[in-house]
């Protein structure tokens, strides 16, 4: 059975790995790229023109911290000229009000501001950046004044899960349009720090109950998007809406990936946008075709009625926890490895995300 390759809808463009914050939950890889490895402006602009021609309608400008790229205005302008909807995903501490104004004039459609905590001391502690909270609030207010829609992104883990109700209040106080309560996904630095970040089961249950209630209560007042923690769910999430189905990632140095953790699958060979047109990588590269559709699936997933809903879950997580990237994602209750999910020991030390790499290897790599 073959499958149609549809044109991609969205790109997560990681413009840089540099970031003034050092969050231990960051999903960036442990080996962060230095500035000299980043794509030049004209390469990014060409990439985005190609993407628009392919049918990409939305680009998420992310990082690291995308506002550290001095050419961000140019990038936004090029995307806007080509009719692409732009979403800036920022920690906001390095974003001045003048730049925000310039980005808005360049055509920026939406800004997503991450808050590491709902309280100033939590934001400061998790991001290791003084006064970060006040800075973020300033940027959010400035964005609303400019008429930019704002999403507050709350990355949730053990150290801030108790603040979920306060995040809702914060989003309302800042006149945000959306609040994203996103339980951290354990890739990169978050995987390394998993034992210190994974919330307890009871806290998760309490959070799910609270969010379900408040969402209903705030219908038409605040949009709340909820990314539940997949470690405690019965079924996995469809990563990226399905491998190579309608979105892809570009890393700061130009590697085109089906998902942002895909490079953890060492058996796959990835291509750079420097070497090949995006269209060719999307349609022809082995890495994109490896887990596209359902042909690659193990018999358990292939026979499962949910296979077109979650596509067997996350390939990277399957590999990390079972050693086989074609296995059922172990967060699924049908996985024979499902027990491994609950075997994670708890610790209290979080390693700061720093360029130059982690002090110790991730547990998965030691095994």
């Amino acid at each position: 059975m073959t499958h149609d390759i549809l044109p991609p809808l969205g790109i997560l463009a990681e413009l840089t790995h540099r970031c003034p914050l050092q969050c231990g939950y960051c999903s960036n890889p442990l080996e962060l790229l230095k500035a000299n490895r980043e794509l030049e402006t004209d390469v990014w602009l060409d990439v985005f023109r190609q993407a628009a021609r392919m049918g990409v309608l939305q680009v998420h400008l992310s990082g690291g911290e995308p506002t550290l790229r001095q050419d961000l205005e140019q990038i936004v302008a090029t995307l806007a000229e080509n009719g692409v909807y732009t979403n800036l995903i920022t920690a906001a501490v390095s974003l001045s009000q003048e730049r925000l104004k310039d980005l808005k004039s360049a055509g920026l459609d939406h800004i997503q501001i991450s808050f590491q905590g709902a309280r100033p001391e939590t934001t400061e502690k998790i991001g290791h950046y003084r006064n970060a909270h006040a800075k973020k609030i300033e940027v959010a207010k400035a964005a609303r004044q400019l008429g930019l829609p704002v999403t507050i992104n709350a990355p949730i883990h053990r150290l801030n899960i108790a603040e979920v109700p306060e995040f809702v209040q914060l989003a309302l106080d800042l006149d945000a349009d959306r609040l994203e309560i996103a339980n951290v996904q354990y890739y990169g630095w978050a995987e390394l720090n998993k034992a210190a970040l994974l919330p307890g089961r009871e806290d998760v249950d309490r959070q799910v109950e609270y969010v379900t209630g408040i969402r209903e209560q705030l219908t038409g007042i605040l949009n709340i998007d909820f990314v539940p923690p997949d470690y405690y769910a019965d079924y996995p999430k469809p990563c990226m809406g399905g491998w190579a189905k309608d979105a892809f990632v570009i890393t700061p140095d130009g590697m085109m990936l089906p998902c942002h953790a895909a490079q953890s699958i060492k058996t796959l060979a990835f291509s750079s946008v420097r070497d090949m047109p995006l269209e060719k990588i999307w349609r022809e590269s082995d890495a994109f075709n490896a887990y596209r559709g359902t042909d690659w699936m193990n018999p358990r997933c292939k026979a499962c009625p949910r296979r077109d809903i979650d596509f067997g879950g996350c390939r990277c997580q399957a590999l990390a926890l079972t050693g086989d990237a074609t296995e059922t994602d172990p967060t699924c209750i049908k996985s024979p490895y499902h027990d491994r999910i609950s075997e994670i020991p708890f610790t209290d030390t979080v390693q700061k995300r720093i360029i130059g790499g982690a002090k110790q290897k991730a547990p998965a790599e030691q095994a």
């Binding site: 939305q58 909807y85 979403n87 997503q112």
Partner: protein
């Protein structure tokens, strides 16, 4: 409990709906299909939904939109009006359309 001065808009026939600047209605040439782009979302509404959205020009009331659709599609007005109101209320609840005209009773 959370505190907010915001209220949920309850739409009626006299409401004038509009598309906010951060929601974009466009014809996608690659897929030859209408799309709605919103913060972190791409939607593909069906033909009739697109017709409703196109008429949300910030001037027409929901009654006017229903009237126009009923005559274009040669369909009973009461049915059309109920469908249009339900659709727009749902989109308003997701903050994808905004109320621009007469402030109605708020729940």
């Amino acid at each position: 409990m959370v505190a907010t001065t915001r209220t949920r808009a309850v739409l009626s026939g006299t409401t004038v709906p509009g598309i906010p600047p951060y929601v974009r209605l466009l014809f996608d040439k690659v897929r030859e299909q209408w799309a709605v782009l919103a913060p972190e979302k791409v939607m593909w509404p069906d033909e009739i939904s697109i017709e409703i959205l196109k008429k949300c020009d910030g001037a027409a009331s929901i009654d006017a939109i229903s009237n126009a659709l009923a005559s274009e599609y040669d369909a009973p007005l009461a049915e059309v009006a109920a469908d249009v109101l339900e659709f727009l209320q749902e989109w308003s609840d997701r903050r994808l359309i905004v109320v621009l005209g007469p402030a109605e009773a708020q729940a």
